[in-house]
Amino acid sequence: MRDALARAWARQAIALTTLVLLWEVCSRAGLIDPFYAPPPTVIAMTFYELFAGGTIWEHIAATFSAALLGLFGGLLIGSALGFAAAMVRPLADVLEPVMILLNAIPRVILAPLFIIWFGIDLGSKVALSLVLVAVLIFFSVYSGIREVDTRLVERVQTLGGGRATLLREVYVPSVTAWVMGSLKVAVGFAFTGAVVGEFVASSRGLGYLLSFAQSTYNAAQTLALIFIIMAFVLLLFSLAGRLERWLLHWRYA
């Protein structure tokens, strides 16, 4: 088992190294145009410059604030609405179609509207990221409650449990499992919202730097920024994974 894992890692490392080397060689030899795909060493230099200048941190902080605020706001609002809809039938009749519609459209098209409403600062980015996350979480919680294992509900009822017990022993844990299942997707969505929002209009953030790099046709900087965003999302993924393992320890025990 561990051997298999180690071998898989080794294979991935070899493949990645080969790819990077190949890229470097091809780019230097002129086989691929460095204008479009600058060699990895150049991208690495750009990386260094971005961080050495120090200003990148301000942009990272801006994107992170927007993404995290959107993530937590979305989790909170999505859960609250999902819970309310599952509990109060008339509310579900109203909320469900709205959520289905919001789910069906590519929600990033709301970005221009949010910029008009909330300005080009943090607010519009948080709003976009929040909407992306909230719709996802709404459905997790809503279906988590509605599709709860009725056998467990009956079990707890016949053991003498009332509503509060059902909530604590059955609904909350099973909804937690559902929400944790979409947590990684939610992290991705939160960053999508923040970066796309910045991309559309802003004066700060990684999305802003990206759109700037793109407008000057700076492929090296664009790639470097993409890698930075990837690195941060991966970091949050691993945190989300840890949280999931901790909350759902009964699944991994």
């Binding site: 294992d149 079990r155 707890v156 016949t158 053991l159 003498g160 844990p173 009964w250 699944r251």
Partner: protein, 285 residues
Amino acid sequence: MTSTAQRRKPKPLSERPVPYDPEADPPERLPGSPVVAVRNLRMRYGKAEPVIDGVSLDVASGQVVSLIGPSGSGKSTVLRAISGLHKPDGGEVKLSVEPREMGFLFQDDALLPWRTARQNVALGLRLRGTPKAEAFREADRWLARLGLSGLEKRYPRQLSGGQRKRVALAQVLALRPKLLLMDEPFASLDAIVRHHVTQDLLQWVEGERIAVLLVTHDLEEAQALSDAVYLLSRGPRARISASYPIDIPRPRDLIGVRGHPTFAPLLQRIWHDLSGEVDQLGGGI
């Protein structure tokens, strides 16, 4: 308070006196006082034709009553009505025990997946106000009694089907119910474990003189454990089409009881009647 707690503590099976001695026991502990009386029960799901219609049966304290019948005839539905999970569409269920004095062992072995074996067993006790530490001790005792020592901290997915079933049984027995409803409780156990658990349960039931309504598809098991067997007819609108009193003295031994002179003939009769119900489906099962 203390005396109640003392009295309620279950004795290990081996230490319990030989149960059921009508001469020695005070009359109110004798079988006979009805615990549940079902009268003309009609049950339906939604707008469909009633699943059962006109079912009547009684279970008295100290009595084990089995309910058999073709699959899908409505046996589980009868238990659901008695447990209060489903409201009757007609007729009534008269109980002389509190709802909290009822134990329901379901057909499947679904436990709370996010709770350990110990926490699952302790849940019902906790809901009855037992402090956590005491509930856990009691849970461990019951788990040990059902041969699950050392598995207290396992989650359901870390247990085998038979072990989960026994945890579910411990969960119900730990509440020391006065009426025990069981829905094909041992179907998933392998032969040896099944024998032990059943024998254990038989001894427990005879010792505690509780009322048991058992749904089973195992006719031998039904006869070996019961004081009466009811046959539910093929649904829809199933009703009790026959009942068979079983006069084999208690305490019984699960193996020995099969040697009783009335056992084989009655088994044959019940089997014949049940086959009749199934045959009406139009040729076989």
